[in-house]
């Protein structure tokens, strides 16, 4: 078994170029997102990078009013809540991401299952994956 290139840092490098890359298993075809060194389904180590088109469905979410320090630094808090959630990008590939363009003042209006598309937010020189209503 060789050292894997399907690392967190490679994923982040791709993300900085506005690409969502997953590790597809050559054996069973599972799309591993986030990438991982062993296929989550068959545990195989023969993987290849595939780019996802960024279109998905909102699986679940929350609107956060009590943020961690990193988001307090971005200006979020009780007066300015933010949304995050899990997005299903198809083929079993799911990821947690920031949500933008939703009415966070009316979280009850946010519907699970709606179509979303990827957006890339630059924060302090880092790229953060986000999704907005499609």
């Amino acid at each position: 078994m060789s050292a894997s290139e399907f690392t967190v840092s490679r994923f982040r490098e791709f993300l900085s170029k506005r690409k969502i890359m997953a590790a597809k298993c050559k054996k069973c075809g599972t799309v591993n997102l986030p990438p991982r060194p062993m296929c989550k389904k068959c545990h195989g180590t023969e993987l290849e990078w595939v780019e996802l088109n960024g279109k998905g469905k909102l699986v679940t979410f929350s609107v956060v009013y009590v943020p961690p320090t990193s988001l307090v630094a971005e200006g979020y808090g009780r007066e300015k809540p933010y949304a995050f959630g899990v997005v299903d990008l198809g083929q079993g590939a799911k990821i947690t991401a920031r949500l933008t363009g939703f009415d966070v003042e009316r979280p009850e209006s946010i519907r699970l299952g709606i179509n979303v598309e990827a957006e890339f937010l630059e924060r302090d020189g880092k790229m953060i994956l986000a999704f907005k209503p499609a």
């Binding site: 986030p34 679940t60 009590v66 990193s70 799911k94 994956l129």
Partner: protein, 417 residues
């Protein structure tokens, strides 16, 4: 899957007062719990008879800048030079410590051990505590997206509501019930019902000459954003367990020596543990914790019992939705029916399946690394008929369910008088 090579019993149990104590460090907190456990051994015990310490602790690294807490606590309570170790599995740390202690005694390696937990959380401001707790989730992918612990359980709540029609009112009923129980527990952080809290707010407003709120009952109080602000939609303040300082300690003995220490040992008849991905996005389902189902299945199998045989349970209600999911994962109610069960009062002290008579994490408090063993303290009192005002009549079989993170760890134990 196995069975215990020999019987193991709880012969003593204790906990510190839970709350916010600016004048106490982990040392004093753990000593308080240990001394109570030590003194609870009916026929007495010597410190030299306790051979090892399995200590649950989540994040003293950050909270107090002190690690190596296993031997530190063993030294404080005078049980060195035997083995002493810290076990970390997020909020399941001391439930896992309990399991390791049980396995160590069952294996024959030790006859008598102490298991427990400690956490000192109130040194940090809330946003920093939020950071520390979030480190029990996926720090590479969930945290950068903005996930917080309330946020992760909010994701579970939203998925549960969508799939089963669970209502926010049912979540609030969990909090109301657990506060009613906590009001009867002198060790609880919040020894007051939500109705009492509501009345106190009304009196305070009157005394200060401020506009007097006209909440007609606790459900109205909990629906008022001013009284019960959103933490992570749909979870509000009273859906969340608090930030707590506290410690717990349980003394275990091999069955063959247990009767030397007490005529009323509480036997550990089942233990089970499961694991899962840290990140919710790596799971197939969000409305049930697979690790909990696995842990429960193994504990029931080992005990030769079924969910209907459990007379009382302490479950991991870090958030109100977590209690509803727990009662489904443990098989007490069918998937999707946990909310309805709360609404029907089935989980109250006088219901068919009393849940969290201690007040649960919600009202008793949740000093993360201490919570799993503190659940055992309640079951110990209840099965011995020593739970005072919150005693459930004639219970002989009890269960504890302790979850780490958003369900990446779960450990279940079954106890029998």
């Amino acid at each position: 899957m196995g069975k215990l090579a020999r019987g193991v019993a709880v012969i003593g149990a204790g906990m510190s007062k839970f709350g916010a104590f600016s004048d106490k460090t982990t040392r004093e907190l753990f000593a308080e719990a240990f001394i109570e456990a030590f003194n609870s051994v009916d026929n007495g015990i010597e410190t030299m008879e306790i051979e090892a310490l399995f200590l649950g602790n989540f994040s003293n690294d950050i909270f107090e800048g002190q690690v190596h807490t296993g031997p530190l606590m063993a030294d404080v309570v005078g049980i060195t030079p035997g083995p002493a170790m810290r076990i970390e599995d997020a909020c399941a740390s001391s439930g896992v410590a309990l399991r390791l202690g049980v396995l160590a005694v069952a294996s024959g390696a030790h006859d008598v051990v102490c298991v427990g937990g400690v956490e000192k959380m109130t040194n940090l401001e809330t946003s920093r505590v939020t950071d520390v707790l979030a480190s029990a989730a996926d720090a590479m992918y969930e945290f950068p997206a903005g996930a917080t612990f309330p946020g992760l359980y909010a994701e579970i709540a939203n998925a549960h509501m969508k799939k089963y029609g669970t209502k926010v009112e049912q979540l609030r009923m969990v909090g109301i019930k657990n506060h009613e129980n906590g009001a009867l527990n002198p060790k609880a952080q919040f020894q007051s019902s939500i109705r009492d809290i509501m009345r106190a707010r009304i009196e305070k407003a009157k005394a200060r000459g401020l506009p007097v709120p006209n909440w007609k009952d606790e459900m109205e109080f909990l629906s008022d954003p001013a009284a019960n602000p959103i933490v992570a939609w749909p979870l509000r303040l009273f859906d969340c367990s608090p930030i707590t300082d506290g410690a717990s300690a349980v003394i275990l003995a091999a069955e063959e020596v247990a009767r030397k220490f007490t005529d009323t040992p509480i036997y550990v008849v089942g233990t089970g543990q499961g694991s899962d991905s840290l990140a919710l996005h790596d799971r197939d389902e969000f409305t049930s914790l697979r690790a909990a189902r696995i842990a429960a299945k193994e504990a029931y199998r080992m005990a030769g019992l079924e969910p209907k045989d459990i007379q009382i349970a302490e479950v991991h209600d870090c958030f109100t939705i977590a209690e509803i999911v727990a009662t489904e994962d443990l098989g007490f109610f069918k998937p999707g029916e946990g909310g309805k069960a709360v609404e029907e009062g089935l989980t109250k002290r006088d219901g068919d399946k009393p849940i969290n008579t201690s007040g649960g994490l919600k009202a008793k408090g949740h000093p993360v690394g201490a919570s799993g063993a503190a659940q055992v303290v309640e079951i110990w009192h209840q099965l011995r008929g020593e739970a005072g005002a919150r005693q459930v009549p004639s219970v002989e079989v009890g269960l504890t369910h302790n979850v780490g993170g958003s369900g990446a760890s779960c450990v279940v134990h079954i106890f029998r008088r």
